[in-house]
Structure formats: structure tokens, C-alpha cells
Chain length 208, copies 2
DNA sequence: AGAAAAATGGGGCTTTGGGGCAATAGCGAT
DNA sequence: ATCGCTATTGCCCCAAAGCCCCATTTTTCT
């Protein structure tokens, strides 16, 4: 299917040239001539990747990258620079940019980077979807159930949990059953995996 | 304590200058004027980080980085370049270099990068130590025990495992007990965590 | 206030997990 | 051939977990 790509460069003719090139390779291209303009529309669309110029008035490419990271838009970024320096490229890559190309852009390099970027994005999307689904299930747990959940993945026995929470073992069993039911699992090992996936920590000695 | 740092640069006077600077900051410095020379001694010592020049005869800094990665020497690398270009810096960082500085090196930047590098190295060392300890325990498992281990972390019941392996449930119990004993754990949740840590995969439907 | 949801508990039953003790069998090394 | 390790299994028993129906209380929401 047609992946959507945003091209952000203050030079409109460069944008158009890139758009033409990428259209020719089956991509769906959106053009923005400044970073703020892009930000206005960034949340509306689902992008496969972003081609971003470094040197722009108002807001530089690196600043925009910063903002996108802050706002958790995890679009892979391919930088292109007219007169970029090494420190810029280093920070860009350190912050996760897919590549940092210099103008004039070698067509082959750009296409290759875009390919990587889109693959990366797809991977991220898949992970995120998966993560959200389990998180959503976990959120249906009541506070008490969550508490029991955490004790379970700490390896505690029903008897021990009952003791810690000053309730009967019977009640723990009920909660335990409900936790497993709500999370759609049948065994404890799956509970542990779910907990690890969404970052639910075992109950340490300190807080018990 | 005194961290050891290797400085690799074909220009001996630069090496000496850097050594003097770093000595003054409490580091223990080793000097090499070529990448191959460094490789001869790399395995003998425990380094906190490596300061590496990009442009050197025989073997470039990037090539050396490649080799170190291949050989699993996970020393953090701080690159310094006299006339480095952007593509070099990009690949260096992508492959995990801590930083890519340009000569003349700003003292503050270098010290800062070294600090990061050493912190990173310590973290890696800690993780590695932890990993090796558990891996070592896992290696004491016999083939059969490993097999049962994998079924356990797949969430299978003793009865099911027995059926798959065409043995009695009693035998599975014996193996199961031995696995837990050898891995020094008391609950299944810890087994799952160990398996995840050393990368032991559950048994998929395909291979059963 | 009244209904719905959540937490608590009981009794009873089955299944599963775990430990001890003993025995048999195969296989490689001394 | 004998020793040691591993794998296998039987029997007995107990503890832990899961599941069924049930009831009461507390909290929460409308």
C-alpha cells in the first residue's frame, strides 16, 4: 500500500523535486515548508516517515526532532542538510534519526534510508499496537485486583498474599481468578509476560 | 578507582597530549599509535573506554570499531577526527560510538564524553556479569531438563509435558524439581524471568 | 435512595504441584 | 567390570490452586 511521507524543507523547489521523485516510487508525499507548519498537521495523519531539512528559519530540523520526541510521535526521521556540521549529525543520529544525508542528495541513498525508515516505523507500530492491547486489558483491573496481580508475579502463594493483605485465602483465590479471566490467560507464566510487557513491577520487600 | 583508557591515534604527540590531560584527571592511560597495535593488547586489559582517531594508515578508526563489535569487545568508543566527514560520524554513532569529536578537541567535551562512556561501560559490565551468572546456572541443565524447562515456560501442565514427551507425569515432576533446584528458584515466575533473561524461547506449536 | 459493582467470605470438591523413598535401566569413563 | 550420572517410574501423602454454588458487606455511581 501507499506509504505517506512528509517532506519538510524551507526551500519549496527542493520539496517539489523530492515529492516528484518519491511519487515516482509509489509514495504519497506531503510537503511542508516550515517545521511549525508541519506541527499543525502532524497529528492528523499517519506517516511512514519524515524527510527533514536541518537548516530552516523559525525552527531548525533538530528542534523539530526534539519536539516530536517529546510528543511521542515516533515517526522515523531522515535528515537532509545543505550545510550541516558533524555535531548536528551526531545529535540527530543519537536521538534516533535513521540517516543524515547531505545535499545534493544521492537518490539511491535517500530511497534506501526511506525504506529503512518505513520498515522501522512498521515495527514500532506493531509493537505499539500489541502494547496498547495488553495495557487496555490491564486497565480493566480494579485496584485490588492489581494489587493481587503484583503479588502473584512476585511469586507469592495465595496464603501469603492473604496474610499480607489481611484477608482470607478464599478472597485471594477469587481475585486471582478474576485477574486471569480479565487478562485472557490460563497460566501464571502468561501473567508474568504481561506484567513485564506493560512494566508492572513485582512487589518489593520494602513496600510489603 | 582509576579507570583505564586507551588512546589510539597515529600521531604520537597527540597521544601524549591526551595522555597528559587524562592523567591529570585521574585516568590511567594506554597509548597506541595504530589500530593493529591496539588489537594485540586489547584482550589483556580491562578498559573503561577507548579514544579513537578516525584517519589512520593501515586501519581506520571505523574499521577498528567494526572489528571490536565483531569480537564482542564492548568498550565504549569516543571518536576524534582531524578531517572527519558527516558519513563517517553517522556510521560511527549508528554503531554505538559514544561521541564523535573534531580536532582540536575541546577539553570539556572530551571529559564529558569519557564520563558517559565509562558510565555506559560500567552498566554493560554489570548486565554482563548478571547475564553470565544465570547463563552459567542454565548450562548445568541436562538436555532433558532443558526440554522440560522450555515446556514449563510455555505454560504447559506436567500432564501435558508428559504426554508430549511420552513419559509419565512423575518423571516430569522429578525433572521439574531438578530444574528449579539447579536454577536456585522456588517459583515458576522466577523460571520465566530466567528464561527471558538468557533468551530461552517457549516451545512453539510447530516444534511440538 | 437505589441499583450496580466490587470486595469479602464459606463449604466442598477436583486437579495440579511437590517431596520422599525405592527401584530399574542405559551409557560413558576408569 | 564397576562406578557415576541420567532418565525413568512406582507408591504414598500433603499442600496449593482452581472451580462450583452460595451469601454478606462495602463502595460507587446514578
Amino acid at each position: 500500500m501507499n506509504e505517506k511521507i512528509a517532506v519538510i524543507d524551507d526551500n519549496y523547489s527542493i520539496c517539489k523535486a523530492l515529492a516528484r521523485l518519491l511519487n515516482g516510487h509509489g509514495y504519497n508525499v506531503e510537503i511542508y515548508t516550515s517545521a511549525p507548519e508541519f506541527l499543525l498537521h502532524a497529528r492528523d495523519t499517519e506517516l511512514g516517515c519524515v524527510i527533514l531539512d536541518i537548516n530552516m528559519p523559525n525552527m531548525s530540523g533538530l528542534q523539530l526532532q526534539e519536539i516530536l520526541i517529546d510528543r511521542k510521535y515516533d515517526y522515523p526521521i531522515v535528515f537532509i542538510s545543505g550545510c550541516g556540521d558533524i555535531p548536528s549529525s551526531v545529535t540527530a543520529i543519537k536521538k534516533g534519526a535513521v540517516n543524515f544525508l547531505q545535499k545534493p542528495v544521492v537518490e539511491q541513498d535517500l530511497l534506501q534510508s526511506i525504506c529503512e525508515a518505513i520498515a522501522l516505523h512498521r515495527k514500532h507500530q506493531d509493537q505499539k499496537r500489541d502494547y496498547l492491547l495488553t495495557e487496555q486489558a490491564v486497565e480493566t483491573l480494579t485496584a485490588r485486583e492489581m494489587e493481587i496481580f503484583r503479588y502473584i508475579i512476585t511469586g507469592k502463594l495465595n496464603k501469603q498474599i492473604a496474610y499480607y493483605l489481611r484477608i482470607t485465602e478464599k478472597t485471594v483465590k477469587v481475585h486471582r481468578a478474576r485477574v486471569k479471566q480479565k487478562l485472557h490467560v490460563k497460566s501464571i507464566v502468561d501473567l508474568v509476560r504481561i506484567a513485564d510487557k506493560v512494566g508492572i513491577k513485582p512487589i518489593s520487600l520494602a513496600e510489603s
